[in-house]
């Protein structure tokens, strides 16, 4: 199968620091891939390696089935990017900055600048110097530049950074429309886990340079499901009692977790089983997992 993004043992070392360590990414066409990690985990370095901005120490990367070669070679007419905080020439206006980008993309139609400004809601700032823009509008300008040439692949580093809540929703809907209606592949890194949770069809978690987990949409859905959390003074008797009653308990640290529908629908029955087993619960709570808890658990361990 061809992938929109494919890396093979991609690594980048700075002296002893392994900023990216044997990362094997597979992003399918049309996916929205959420790339999560703590500060300094290696997200931006991975993105820079995908875009040919840094040379890998080991391994390789392919975008849209074309190898990212030396001297920054790659399928750039079909790739849009936004890396770290957006920047623009401060003495040029929004329109002029986008016009520079249009020419660098070798696009002849100058009307495309007006169209993209409308799409990203920065048309009213067209003649304002970029140095006077707010963080949010500078972010919109960066996104406008990434989308200017109708790319097939978007690589975005923190796309909602600096945006107000309305802007976050706007960008989410824009990316969703691009992916679902125009088949654009979106690879985005983010700290805003709730946004990734809502938008991504697949996520990857990078920690200390290594890709430690990838979750597909169905697993993400499972994560969002309800579960019963149980604590008891005698946790082992509680565990055995639940097993004997036909439940499938999972032990996590000092807590027992039950995810089967029988337990979710009748938590009172579970309480009864625990009391009869001589391990009455000290904590019995129905909780919906979210990506944040899952992520924090992975990156703390």
């Amino acid at each position: 199968m061809d992938y929109a993004i494919e890396t093979n043992n991609l690594s980048k070392f700075y002296g002893d620091v392994r900023a990216v360590d044997q990362v094997n990414l597979r992003v399918r066409y049309g996916e929205i891939y959420g790339f999560l990690g703590l500060n300094g985990a290696g997200k931006t370095t991975t993105i820079r390696a995908l875009l040919g901005m840094v040379r890998p120490s080991e391994g390789n990367a392919k975008l849209l089935d074309q190898a990212i070669g030396p001297h920054g070679r790659g399928p750039w007419p079909r790739v849009g990017h936004l890396v770290e905080s957006p920047s623009a020439y401060p003495e040029l206006t929004v329109r002029e900055n986008l016009d520079v980008a249009r020419r660098l993309h070798q696009i002849k139609d100058s009307n495309i600048v007006d169209e993209i400004m409308e799409q990203l809601a920065i048309a009213s700032y067209a003649d304002r110097k970029a140095g006077a823009l707010s963080t949010g509008n500078l972010q919109r300008l960066g996104l406008a530049r990434a989308l200017l040439h109708n790319p097939a692949l978007l690589i975005l580093d923190e796309p909602a950074n600096g945006l107000d809540p309305a802007g976050v929703v706007e960008i989410r809907e824009l990316l969703r429309t691009l992916a679902h209606e125009r088949g654009v592949t979106v690879f985005m890194s983010s700290h805003i886990l709730t946004e990734v949770d809502r938008l991504a069809t697949r996520i990857g978690i990078i920690h200390k340079g290594k890709l430690i987990e990838e979750l597909d949409a169905d697993k993400l859905e499972t994560l969002r499901s309800l579960r019963l959390e149980i604590k008891a003074r005698n946790i082992h008797d509680a565990y055995s009692g639940l097993q004997s009653a036909g439940y499938k308990p999972a032990l996590q640290d000092d807590m027992i977790l039950l995810e089967e529908p029988r337990a979710i629908e009748h938590p009172d029955d579970v309480a009864g089983v625990l009391v009869r087993a001589g391990a009455p619960p000290t904590h019995l709570v129905m909780r919906q997992q979210n990506l944040e808890e899952h992520f924090m658990r992975f990156t703390r361990s």
């Binding site: 040919g52 901005m53 001297h71 980008a101 020419r103």
Partner: protein
Amino acid sequence: MRRSKVPLFTTLGFSMIPLMGGLFMIILKDPEAARSMGLISMKAQIAAGTAEWSSLFNLLTQAIAVGGFILFGIVTSWVFGREFSDHTVKELLALPTSREAIVAAKFVVIIVWAVTTSLFVFGFGIVVGYLVNIPGWSMELLRAAFVNIIGSVVLTIMLLPFVALLAGIGRGYLSPIGWMILMVALAQTASFMGWGDWFPWAVPALFASSHKDQIGLHSYMVVIIASLIGFALTFNWWRNADQTR
């Protein structure tokens, strides 16, 4: 470049040269008035000689040669260094337009600005000289001065790639400015020791000076070699270096 303040202020700074030259000519023309100014008159005599076209052209030529290196260097440092200081270098990467084309375009802009500004300053100097009404004009003098100025400007431009290279390696303005100061110091030292004709960064000023006879084919060769090395290193750096800004 149209919008930025950097080329504007450097052009204005460069334009001071003919104005200063004109001022010196005025002082030298009227010794009575100059004597009443005292110290200013004495300094003007040492710098420019007598109030005539040959002195003005000498002053213009020397000042453009020396000032040109500093000012062209500042503009080169800005054209390349600002991409790092403003964090816009990543917007020049991962594009259908190659990095080599972008670097070449920057050099073209710098060369066009440098030549245009030098011609402007030279023309302005002629206007100032005409307004001050100094004697000794001849077309031969004009031709010789023009050749000297254009020659030193071309030689100076050929040495700018190292400024561009250091703006990249240093990721900003300061390294190339430090480089320029170092080269001016080394050029002065080389000239003082009689080796100026072999040191590339001393050749433009020697070309514009009264010691032009020291320059030979070997001088042009060292400038050409230094230029080619500078261009090659600059292009190579932009093609291969990791860009983390």
